[in-house]
Amino acid sequence: MPTILVEVMPKPEILDPQGKAIANALPHRGFTGFSGVRQGKRFELSVEGEVTEELLESARAAAAEMLSNPVIEDVVSVTVAEDQ
């Protein structure tokens, strides 16, 4: 079944408390070398049948209107993943 992937991240200029908490915790576990962390969302929309251009357009619209909050988030990508 094909899947449409939608990736959403907090806008770069917006505080990301989730990423901040992880960034603070990583070094305590010996994971150094990362200068920052941001946490976003990944959606898998499953499609029965084929992914038409129309459906992809619909996914883009859903990403912009429902899956992300344009005030604080950016839709990073909307792509098709076969055989997820």
Partner: protein
């Protein structure tokens, strides 16, 4: 920083140690919310509450540990995900799993339960409530296992009411784990009535194989004092069903059966 630093500034000085001598540690992570309530419950249950600080590996010789509710390190990632790696947790994990006759009794409430699953001291995990909302209400539970360090003074299948308040309270585990929990009688508390969160098998609390580690989502420490407990037939917030958890552990630690 030394353990002498008071965890909560301006708190009344701790009460004098009662005779029982059961010393029960209450862990404070930076985002812990219910530590003072848990300490109060320990005191009312007849024990002495000993504050434990997340960054301090030492358990200061306590006889049992409570991991209270809250948002340990913010819990933005997953509830309890980061807390599990705290220095205090490595000692707790070692002592709770010690192959001794009496491994450390540990109780995780709400976020504490989440920490215990993340630390793999208890099986399964918690995900968002099925309705996706935070829910605060009084909850009826059935006590199905009275063999743990924390439930010995309940009667089998006793119904109790305690407050519940969480957003990530839906207990999940794979089928094999659920079967094992059920077969071994390790479901300690089960939700009665309409499920508050969609938990598998209405599970509200479980224990490990040895019965020293118990986790539950609702809050017994909020039902230990009349007037500030759960609602019951005698009146507004008069219910103190949660106290039995704390008298149970004090009694099992002091060898009494009172």
């Amino acid at each position: 920083m030394s353990a002498e630093t008071p965890l909560i500034a301006g708190d009344p000085t701790p009460q004098a140690a009662p005779l029982s001598g059961a010393r029960i540690g209450v862990v404070t992570f930076p985002g812990t919310l219910d530590d003072r309530d848990a300490a109060r419950a320990v005191r009312l249950g007849g024990g002495t509450a000993v504050p434990l600080w997340h960054a301090d590996e030492s358990l200061h010789g306590v006889d049992a540990v409570v991991l209270p509710g809250g948002f340990s390190y913010g819990d933005y990632l997953r509830a309890g995900a980061i807390a599990r790696f705290a220095p205090v947790m490595s000692t707790i994990i070692t002592e709770a799993e010690a192959r001794t006759a009496s491994p450390l009794p540990v109780l995780g409430i709400c976020n504490g339960f989440q920490v215990l699953t993340e630390a793999h001291l208890l099986p399964g995990s918690m995900i968002k409530n099925d309705h996706l909302k935070f829910i605060c209400r009084d909850q009826v539970l059935r006590v199905e296992n009275t063999g743990t360090a924390w439930t010995s003074q309940f009667t089998q299948d006793e119904l109790i009411t305690v407050p519940m308040k969480n957003q990530d309270g839906q207990y999940v585990a794979d089928d094999a784990t659920l079967k094992k929990l059920e077969d071994q009688g390790r479901v300690v508390f089960r939700y009665v009535g309409e499920s508050p969160n969609g938990s598998r098998n209405d599970i509200a609390g479980v224990t490990n194989e040895r019965g020293n580690v118990v986790g539950l989502m609702p809050h017994p420490e909020h039902a230990v004092e009349a007037g500030y407990g759960s609602d019951d037939a005698t009146g507004l917030r008069e219910g103190t069903d949660g106290l039995t958890i704390f008298t149970s552990v004090v009694s099992s630690l002091t060898g009494g059966n009172a």
